[in-house]
């Protein structure tokens, strides 16, 4: 009987949209630039599978190709734990894919990333996979374009599933840029809970039934994803200028 109750009760599957890219790099080599969606947030995750140097990482990334041309990201990797930053340059490390930091996802030209083996010689053959999780309008994915005037909040945004984990990726695309993700859930006790990483403070985890900070969508703590109600979110703009961006849900 105990085993019966320990069984997995349900099993669902559906479609999300990913692009998976295998790589194989000699020391000093980089992949060709890999297109990452401009402005909209994507989740970028990768592995380095070479024996002895294995690693993994995942970040939410925004690549703004407008006037600002900046990369913003927040996430975690095996090598360093929390990773969050912004950069305007080319060849800047975003996250490590191996256990020693020799195999990196880097910024490339605006809107693109690359995987590089910067080891010189310790990692003679770096190989693995890079997956870009984006939203393709499939079931169990959704995207919200938000707009918030200065010192105001967006309209309430519904959390798309109860109790099940919901990944929220966010990116603000105006002057105050940023990228972040959390996984959150709500429950019958009318509480939202979350855990994740943003580009302003790193790890974010808490729970609240009413107006409360969840994660920042920029580096300057000006654009804030908040609890609106136990079932809805809102984006609050604490700056004096209007702002826009995207929230993407995967669940």
């Amino acid at each position: 009987m105990g085993l019966w109750f320990a069984a997995l009760a349900t099993n669902e599957s559906a479609h999300a949209s990913q692009t998976m890219i295998p790589y194989s790099l000699v020391p000093g080599g980089c992949t060709s630039p890999i297109l990452a969606n401009a402005q909209d947030p994507i989740f970028l995750m990768g592995t380095m599978i070479g024996a002895g140097q294995q690693g993994v990482g995942g970040v939410t990334l925004q690549t703004n190709t407008g006037d600002i041309r900046v990369f913003d990201w927040a996430g975690t990797d095996y090598k360093n734990g929390a990773e969050w930053n912004e950069d305007f340059g080319v060849g800047r490390p975003i996250m490590a894919l191996d256990s020693s930091g020799f195999v990196q996802v880097q910024t490339a030209k605006p809107g693109y990333v690359q995987v590089c083996n910067v080891s010189g010689s310790p990692v003679a053959h770096a190989a693995g996979y890079l997956t870009l999780v984006h939203i393709g309008g499939q079931a169990r994915e959704s995207e919200i374009y938000y707009r918030a005037d200065g010192l105001s909040c967006s309209a309430p945004i519904a959390v798309p599933a109860n109790n099940k984990p919901v990944m929220v990726m966010g990116a603000n695309i105006e002057e105050y840029t940023g990228a972040a993700h959390v996984v959150l859930r709500d429950d019958k006790n009318n509480v939202l809970q979350w855990a994740g990483t943003d580009a302003a403070v790193g790890n974010e985890r808490n729970s609240s039934p009413f107006t409360s900070h969840i994660m920042y969508l920029d580096h300057l703590k000006g654009i804030d994803l908040q609890v609106a109600t136990s079932t809805h979110l809102k984006v609050c703009n604490q700056t004096g200028e209007g702002t826009t961006g995207y929230l993407r849900f995967l669940y």
Partner: protein
């Protein structure tokens, strides 16, 4: 052909075609899956297969039994060269989680708010959800979702 078989067939094909040094080619796959669990305190779920070898798998989970409810998210992969699971992410109970293991029964991330219910490594590079014998409630239940 099932969606899963089709996925793996496309994947193997594309991996053979797309292996490269210094180039980038895309492969589009479409898979997200969710399993639910319901385990008694002091027990574990049956082993859960990680849905892809060597590829990064976004794994997020919840434990929904109030007042110990919580959640976590990691990117993990199951390496087939050393039978190792490697992961990095964040959970509600403890924050950053980044580690690797080749042994069953190692903590991967917590799913509740206090660290009583966790995802663990299991035999044959599977994972399992376990509720500690000190978990104050009779049962722990929730969901795991994989995107890969």
């Amino acid at each position: 052909m099932t969606t899963a078989k089709l996925f793996y067939a496309v994947l193997i094909n594309a991996t053979l075609v797309c292996a490269f040094t210094g180039g980038a080619q895309g492969l589009t796959a479409d898979t997200i899956s969710t399993v639910s669990y319901n385990v008694a305190a002091g027990s574990c779920s049956h082993p859960i297969a990680i849905p892809a070898n060597n590829r990064p798998v976004l794994t997020m989970g919840t434990m929904i039994m109030y007042p110990y409810d919580g959640e976590g998210i990691v990117t993990l992969f199951r390496g087939n060269t050393q039978n190792t699971i490697v992961w990095a992410g964040v959970d509600f109970a403890a924050g950053t989680q980044n580690h690797s293991s080749s042994n069953p029964g190692d903590h991967l991330m917590s799913l509740d708010s206090n660290g009583y219910v966790d995802v663990q490594t299991a035999q044959s590079t599977h994972i399992q959800v376990c509720a500690s014998s000190s978990f104050p409630l009779p049962r722990a239940a929730g969901y795991l979702t994989f995107a890969y």
